[in-house]
């Protein structure tokens, strides 16, 4: 496991960032635990979206994934969850090779994801949505109901439980989307842009919900968001993608200060003055 994260050409400023991550990580038997993808490359119509990217996450750990538009973040998430088809490289879940598994099969093995724009079942109520998360992975209707009720209470969503999700605000919908994924009691959870389109206030609320949800499930989490601040605050470890490659990896505060990262966002040339002022 430790060698997985330190891939060849990535600039690993963190140095020790590849050490076993979050404190809550369960003891691993041998080196096969965790959700691991190694040397994954994906190309669409000749354009390379991912180039030999490796990533690993352990139970209880939150790995943030940031990078400018078009860096390959969502593609990587699709690779992990089984929605991207053209793959070289491999994906393992707790030692099992799941590279060629369908998304359904991965979900039943405990790998859940959320989607950009939520993709909630908009005609259904909040409770029904959350229940479906549990139902989809073998729960009986009754236990799904109790799982949903407990989750909604814990995440502070119970007052809207019987509303159709279409009537919820966008922020609340994002909360439900997270809750629905957590209801499946995942081992690993992939969050795809949960904060997209949220105001700062709602983002803070969402952060609270996500933290609770992670604690609730004990899952290993991969978090993508284009709001860098949001990701940095929630993550134990952050991986920066640019042009389909890993640009940097390390703890949040190191990444925030990383000159390469700043330049990736703000533009290559002439970034020095900004970075310099940042460093002061």
């Amino acid at each position: 496991m430790p060698d997985q994260a330190a891939e060849g050409d990535a600039v690993n400023l963190a140095g020790s960032g590849d050490a076993v991550g979050g404190a809550g990580a369960p003891p691993l038997s041998g080196s096969t635990g965790g959700l691991v993808c190694s040397e994954v490359s994906v190309a669409f119509a000749g354009v390379r979206a991912l180039d030999k990217v490796s990533l690993s996450v352990n139970r209880g750990e939150v790995v943030g994934l940031i990078g400018p538009n078009g860096a390959g973040k969502t593609t990587l998430l699709n690779v992990l969850s089984g929605f991207a088809s053209t793959v070289t490289g491999s994906v393992h879940l707790d030692g099992q090779d799941i590279t060629h598994f369908t998304p359904q099969r991965r979900a039943r093995l405990g790998l859940e994801r959320t989607f950009q724009h939520g993709r909630l079942f908009s005609g259904l109520t909040v409770r029904e949505n959350v229940e479906l998360g549990a139902l989809a992975v073998r729960a009986s209707s009754r236990s799904a109901r109790s799982i949903a009720d407990r989750l909604l209470a814990n995440l502070g969503l119970e007052e809207m439980a019987d509303l159709p999700v279409a009537q919820l605000s966008h922020g609340d919908q994002q909360h439900v989307s997270v809750a629905r994924a957590v209801a499946a009691t995942p081992k690993y959870l992939l969050l795809d842009e949960p904060a997209a389109g949220l105001s700062e206030g709602s983002m803070a609320e969402l952060g609270v919900v996500i933290e609770r949800a992670i604690r609730e499930s004990g899952a290993g989490v991969v978090l993508i968001d284009h709001n860098v601040d949001f990701v940095l605050k929630l993550s134990d470890r952050v991986v920066v993608l640019d042009y389909g490659e890993v640009l940097a990896e390390g703890p949040s505060d190191e990444i925030r200060r990383n000159v390469d990262v700043v330049s990736a966002y703000l533009g290559e040339a002439g970034v020095e003055d900004l970075a310099a002022s940042q460093a002061q």
């Binding site: 669409f44 969502t74 699709n78 929605f83 991207a84 088809s85 989607f115 950009q116």
Partner: protein
């Protein structure tokens, strides 16, 4: 040598369904919607040939074209404009309903007996006798459809409106951004759809002169099967799909033994199911070209 005539017959039935497929495929290309009522355009075209039976052939055909185009445009305005943006299946169901209503209108207007169109019946005479029975109409069908397809390809690839249609079919939104007037493109798609319907009406009535109320529906249903079979996303694939269904039906008809011929529809539709199961996106759609939308 009878296989030669079987083959030629199969090709001629194939091109007819290819033409039917064009009228569905053109509309689908620009709007991503299915127009099943196009069959009734064909039916009205055929009835117009009967109504103008006293006139010279050229005039009769010209009127048929005008009628088909006008009706096609009327459907555009009455059905597709209010349904702009609706899904392919919604429009399929709506135009299914329209088809049924129109078929009942033909029943009221023209009666259940059917009306015979005798235009150009001399085209049924043989070019080659003997074991290869080759009839003029077969050649005319292949020739006229060939001309139509060539014309259409030329228009699509050489004219401004064709270019706009291709652009719209490929990327509706960007086409608007560069200034393609979408309404005009949609109108033209229905115009060409109407013209191909007129051609189908003329060609089919030469061989099978009796126009009955279900004349168009029978054609469009098989045409639509072909379109989906070939791959509805692209006009060329859709047309080829229409051709394949007609071709396979005709060829099976020649191969299946006399006593089992009543099961020809079963065989044809079994073929359709097999193809759809193996290639759900269409026979001519390359594998792996559907990218999951996440």
């Amino acid at each position: 040598m009878s296989w030669v005539s079987d083959l030629v017959n199969a090709i001629s039935l194939g091109v007819v369904y290819g033409l039917v497929a064009v009228s569905v495929g053109l509309v689908f290309g620009v709007l991503r919607q299915v127009n099943l009522a196009q069959g009734e355009v064909i039916a009205l075209g055929a009835y117009s040939l009967w109504m103008t039976r006293g006139l010279p052939v050229a005039a009769s055909i010209a009127i048929c074209c005008v009628v088909c185009v006008a009706m096609s445009l009327a459907i555009q305005v009455a059905i597709f404009r209010p349904l702009r943006g609706a899904s392919a299946l919604t429009t399929l169901i709506v135009t299914f309903g329209l088809s049924y209503a129109l078929e009942a209108v033909w029943l009221i207007a023209f009666g259940p007996n059917g009306e015979p169109v005798s235009m150009l019946s001399s085209l049924n005479s043989v070019v080659l006798g003997g074991s290869i029975a080759l009839r003029w109409i077969t050649l005319v069908e292949i020739g006229a459809s060939g001309l139509f397809f060539t014309g259409l390809v030329l228009i699509l690839y050489r004219s401004k409106i064709g270019m706009m249609m291709r652009a719209t079919a490929e990327d509706f939104q960007t086409a608007r951004l560069v200034g393609v007037r979408i309404d005009r493109v949609v109108t033209w798609a229905f115009v060409f759809g109407g013209l191909s319907a007129a051609l189908v009406a003329v060609l089919v009535t030469v061989q099978s002169p009796l126009v009955t109320p279900s004349f168009g529906f029978n054609l469009i249903v098989i045409g639509l099967v072909g379109v989906v079979l070939g791959g509805i996303d692209r006009l060329g694939r859709a047309t080829a799909g229409g051709f394949v269904v007609g071709f396979v039906n005709s060829l099976l008809g020649a191969v299946v033994p006399e006593q089992q011929l009543v099961f020809l529809p079963m065989l044809t539709f079994l073929f359709v199911i097999v193809i759809l199961v193996l290639r759900p996106a269409g026979l001519f759609t390359p594998r792996g070209s559907i990218v999951e939308r996440v």
